[in-house]
Structure formats: structure tokens, C-alpha cells
Amino acid sequence: MVVIQALVDGILIGGVYAVVSIGLTLVFGVMGIVNFAQAEFLMLGMFVGYLAWAWLGLDPLIGSVIAFAVVFALGCVVQHTLIRRVLRAPPVAQIFLTVGLLIVIENAALLGFGSQFRSVTTPYQTSALRLGDLFISVPYLAAFLMSVVSGLALWLFMNRSWYGRAMRATAQDGMAASLMGIDADRMRRIAFGLGVGLTAFGGAVILPYFTVHPTVGAQFVVLMFTVVVLGGLGSVAGAIVGGQAVGIIQSLSAMAFPVQLQNLVLFLVFITVLALRPQGLVGGAR
């Protein structure tokens, strides 16, 4: 029973880890850029969700859609004005740009919102479903379901729509895609917007159980990179598998070891996977 409980908790939290990390892998997959500022877009999404709750009285689960839209738009602007310029630059320039972006966004948020912690109150955040001895946390379940829905929507978009195909074509060979009449710049804009938008969406859905403050990104950034590298950098399916793996490992390890060591266990597994399968669990398959 205890094992099942830990598994369920791990799967639920893993779903959330997956959705906040998909964006990072998407941006890398389409553009070959590692976006170090990705976790800051998570923070922005949390703030949009929080403000939608505080000003408009919207539940964060609905606010997450607004968070997606706002940050998607912001992402398109960032791609057009900044990222586009370093696509062919040496990796060092790309790192400087995204790390710089991280610092700018974080400090802008500190200026704009102040450093206080903010927390929403919703009626369901302290309730749980009970199945026999099994407890399923409602805010975790809600966040998980929202993650599944967004993951499915992304999959449909990438595989069934013209835009998705055009985006994958751009990822495979930007020049060839352009020759086929695809506006590669536009595709990259949408890809970056989608990438950061999804992360922001994930940020908003965890609001019922997590507080937001301008430096919250730091709590997630290592986790996000672990998830995508574990699954296979650049692979959307990999991010989902990676997210689940991280959630379940953290949850199960806490049964045998002190909670303090959950990240030690996680990184031992991580190193082992990288040693045996450097391309990640689902590497190669995009």
C-alpha cells in the first residue's frame, strides 16, 4: 500500500515536472539553443496566474490559459528581437544571451513585484480523494490532469497540424524548409513562444500548492534540466518520460532513504543513465 501511494504521488508530481520541462526540450529541439532562462518563464507564468486570481478572481487552473497566452506572446517577441540574432552565433554567445535574459527577467520581477512570497487560496487545495487507504491530493491531481491535456494538445499540434509539420521540418533542416516555402523565422518564433508558454502554463497549474516569488525559478531550474537530459535533450516524449522518472524516483527513494537524500538518489540514477545511454532514455526519437 505504501509503495502504491508513493507511486501515485510520484506519477502525479512527475506529470507536472514533465509539463514545465517540455518547453525547454522543444526550444532545443527546434532551434538547438539551450535556454537557461526557461525557469524564469515558469516564474512569469506563476505571476500571471497569481494576478489573474488576485485581480479577476480566476482559479489558477483557468488562469493558466491566460498565463500561456501572455507568455507565448512575450516569447515570440523575445525570439524575434533577441534569440534570432544568436542562432548562428557560437554557443558561448547563446549562453551569454539566455543567462543574461535570466538575470534581467528575475531582477525586473523583483523590481515590479517585490520579493514577497505570494500564495493563492482555493477551496480544493487542502482536500484529497480517498480510495481505501490511498490519498490522492486534489491540487496535485488537477495539476497532473492539466499537464496531460496540454501534453496531448502539443502532440496533436506537432503531429497533426500543418504548423507542427512545418516546425519539425525547420528543426530538421532550416534551409531546406525555407526552400519549400516555409517561413522558418516564423516557425522558430512560434516554437519559442510555445516552449516558454507551456512552461508558464505549468507554473500556473502548480499555484494551488506552491507559493510564487521572483526567484522561484532557481528551485526548478536544476530539476528541469535533469528531466530533459534524462529523457533525451530535444525529445518531447523524452521530457514526459523524464518527468515521470524524476517524480517516481524522488517519491520511491523517500521510502528507503531520508527525504534529504532524494536528490542524491535521483542524481545517482541520472549519472548511471547518462553513462549507459548518453542520448537519454528516449533519445533519438523526436
Partner: protein, 411 residues
């Protein structure tokens, strides 16, 4: 030399041996000149190092508000009289929530702003890092951090205005056993969980030791990382532990997550927090009715001195948190030390702090109504309080000589 000099451009920029000597001499003399400045009548620079961003930002902001209130009151009342009415000038630096940054900004305050003393840095891990710098530079550091390590290293320039963590941990357990006994329950099995930086670790040690002495069994003993993103494994363990009460030492985000997850799993045993995140208004704001009845240990409380703390509530719309209160005490005690010694000189201030009993200004708001440091720098008069969320307010419920209301125990 003079002949050639015509070809070398402007005199000032020429890299001659003489210029190098002048610059070097100036650099060597700087600290002495800066030290001379202490003796003058201008404003007295007091350094403030607090976590104004990052995981502990909330507490840094509260603390700063306390210090600012005390500084304004002092300046409005005519500044430091012993120095001809010199005003206090606060030089504030953000330590973020990283110990190395706390040390760096502390260093900067000392070298660039010639502060006579530093106040800060709320979190024990930050204060410990900061104190390495202040000790090296012989600048007094007044802190309200709890960790035992603060005053156990034989430092001469550190002053801890609150009881240390192991004392708080002991009181947390003995006071609780007392409250339970009054309600007809014998406390036998308890759970502890704590964030694993200096504050949580030393407080847990206090509880652990006291439990051993008093024959109480610890059925769960778990540390967790401060930036924890999912507390469910902790609460699952708690559910399986069959404890009568739980003693968590957390900051805000982890504290909120712990209580929410406990309520989800319908674990209704009493919670006795270890100060930190359990006794600030945001805790109540984030939890609403679920905060009701949560107990906590605290080194100070606003309701012991309503006449002093009311102005804070008026100004900011919430009660004066203990960290705001104790930081105001730090500044007030520092100013009293300058008044007594008659000099804004770090060494004189340090000696006065070690030898004087301070019972004016904000020092009255502490338990015992005064502050008196021993040779290690610990305030020997500070006693831990037990506080509880009742209605919208945090009230002192123990020990009985300080209690404003009766504790509520729901076993």
C-alpha cells in the same frame, strides 16, 4: 627624465614610479583615514545585511521594516545625543539567500561605507557567513539568528539578542508537554522534520536531546532541503509514524506545503512550529482557517509590548513579526551602546555591548524587559515563548508568566 617627459602625453596618466608610489601609499592609508571618519560628527553609518530576495525574502523585508521604524524613531527624537545629535544612517545591502553573498556585501559595507556595526542577516546560515567577515574586520554584528553556532565559536564581535536554537528546541518540547498535560494528555511519541540549513538542524538537535532526557520517543526524524518542491514523501512518513504531535522547523514555502499536505491527508495532530515561517502573517494568509490552532515557539512576540509594536501594525497593516521586533531591538541596543560609550567606534561599541545591561527603548519588548550579553555575545535574558494562531492573531500562550491567552490543545 624631464627631457623625455615631453613626449609622453598628459602628466597625470603617465605610469611613473612616483605615481605608483602615491597610489600605493593612498591605498595603504585608506583604512586609517576611514577610521578617522568615525570620530567626526556626521551621520553614523549602520550596516544592514538582509535577504531581500530569494527563498528568505519575506523575512528580510519584515526585518528591514523593523529596523527602519526604530531608526526613524531615534532620528526623530534627536539622533544620538552623545554625538551631538548625529543621525543614524542605514546602509542596506541585499544578501540574497546565499551565504557567500552575505559575506561579500558585508565586506563591501565595511570597506566602502565605513559602518560602525552591522545588523542582520535573519537566516542563521547567512549570519554565520557574515560573521566570519565582521570578526576578521573587528566590526560588531548584532543578530537575531537562532543557531547555536552563532555564539559558540568564541567570536568577540558577535551579539545574539535571542535565545539560541537548542534552547528554543528544548522549550518547544517541554512547553508542549506542559500544554498537553494540562489538557489531560501525556506526550510520548513525537515527530520532527526540519529544513537542513543551520537553523533547522540546530533546533532539531535541541528537541532530540530534550526528548532523550525526558523519555519522549521520537518516531520520525527527517531533514529536508530548504528548496523542497514536493513535501508529500514527508507527510506520507508522518502518516505512518503514529505521532501525537509534530514539530516542524521550516521557512514559509515549505511550512505552507507541509500544513496543506497534512490537511489533505486529514492528519489532525497538533503542529508546533519552530518559529521561521509559522509565525508571520503570510502563513495565516496562505492557509486561512487551516492556520487556526497551529502552535509555535518564538523568541519574541509583538503582544508583550503592544505600546511599542502598535505603530508597526498601523504603518504596514499587519502585526510586528518577531524578526522585525528583534531587529528593531538590535538597532536600539546598538544606539544605547553608542550613547554609553560616547564614541561611534567599533571597538568601543563592542566593549560596551559586552558589559552593559540595556533596558531602554526596544529592549523593553524582549522577555525580561532588557538585553544583557554574556562574554560569548548571547543575550542571557531572552526566554523562548509559545505562541498560537487564534482567530486572526498570533497570541502568546506560554510560559504562563507571559501568556496573554490560554493555549488550545486539540489532540
Amino acid at each position: 627624465m624631464d627631457k623625455r617627459s615631453d613626449h609622453r602625453g598628459p602628466r597625470l596618466l603617465r605610469p611613473t614610479r612616483r605615481a605608483a608610489l602615491q597610489l600605493g601609499g593612498a591605498a595603504v592609508a585608506m583604512p586609517f583615514i576611514a577610521r578617522l571618519a568615525y570620530a567626526q560628527k556626521g551621520p553614523v553609518n549602520v550596516g544592514v545585511v538582509l535577504p531581500l530576495s530569494g527563498a528568505n525574502a519575506q523575512f528580510g523585508v519584515n526585518s528591514l521594516r523593523g529596523i527602519e521604524l526604530a531608526a526613524e524613531q531615534i532620528n526623530k527624537a534627536g539622533g544620538i545625543k552623545a554625538l551631538g545629535g548625529a543621525p543614524i544612517n542605514l546602509v542596506v545591502a541585499d544578501s540574497t539567500s546565499t551565504p557567500t553573498t552575505a559575506a561579500t556585501v558585508g565586506q563591501r559595507l565595511i570597506t566602502q561605507n565605513s559602518v560602525v556595526a552591522i545588523l542582520g542577516a535573519y537566516a542563521s546560515s547567512l549570519s554565520i557567513a557574515l560573521s566570519e567577515v565582521t570578526e576578521r574586520r573587528d566590526i560588531p554584528l548584532l543578530t537575531m539568528s537562532f543557531s547555536d553556532q552563532i555564539t559558540s565559536r568564541g567570536f568577540k564581535n558577535i551579539f545574539q539578542v535571542v535565545a539560541k536554537a537548542s534552547t528554543l528546541g528544548r522549550a518547544q518540547l517541554t512547553e508542549t508537554a506542559e500544554i498537553a498535560k494540562d489538557a489531560g494528555q501525556t506526550l510520548q511519541r513525537v515527530a520532527i522534520m526540519y529544513e537542513d540549513t543551520a537553523y533547522g538542524t540546530s533546533q532539531a538537535a535541541g528537541i532530540r536531546e530534550t526528548a532523550k532526557q525526558t523519555g519522549i520517543t521520537i518516531v520520525m526524524d527527517e531533514a529536508y532541503p530548504l528548496g523542497i518542491t514536493d513535501v508529500t514523501p514527508l507527510i506520507n512518513k508522518l502518516r505512518g509514524a503514529d505521532a501525537q504531535a509534530v514539530f516542524p522547523a521550516s521557512y514559509l514555502n515549505d511550512g505552507l506545503q507541509i500544513i496543506r499536505s497534512m490537511r489533505q491527508q486529514r492528519i489532525g495532530i497538533p503542529v508546533i512550529g519552530g518559529a521561521g515561517g509559522y509565525i508571520i502573517p503570510d502563513f495565516k494568509q496562505g492557509l486561512g482557517e487551516f492556520a487556526e490552532g497551529v502552535l509555535s515557539i518564538a523568541p519574541g512576540s509583538h503582544d508583550l509590548a503592544p505600546e511599542l509594536t502598535a505603530e508597526f501594525r498601523q504603518r504596514h497593516g499587519y502585526f510586528m513579526t518577531h524578526e522585525a521586533l528583534e531587529h528593531a531591538v538590535c538597532l536600539s541596543v546598538l544606539v544605547q551602546a553608542i550613547e554609553t560609550s560616547g564614541k561611534a567606534d567599533p571597538a568601543a561599541i563592542r566593549d560596551t555591548l559586552h558589559t552593559t545591561r540595556f533596558d531602554q527603548g526596544w529592549a523593553k519588548a524582549m522577555t525580561g524587559g532588557a538585553v544583557k550579553f554574556d562574554q560569548t555575545g548571547l543575550n542571557t535574558l531572552s526566554e523562548p515563548l509559545m505562541v498560537q494562531w487564534q482567530g486572526d492573531d498570533l497570541v502568546t500562550v506560554g510560559p504562563s508568566k507571559y501568556a496573554k491567552k490560554k493555549p488550545i490543545w486539540t489532540a
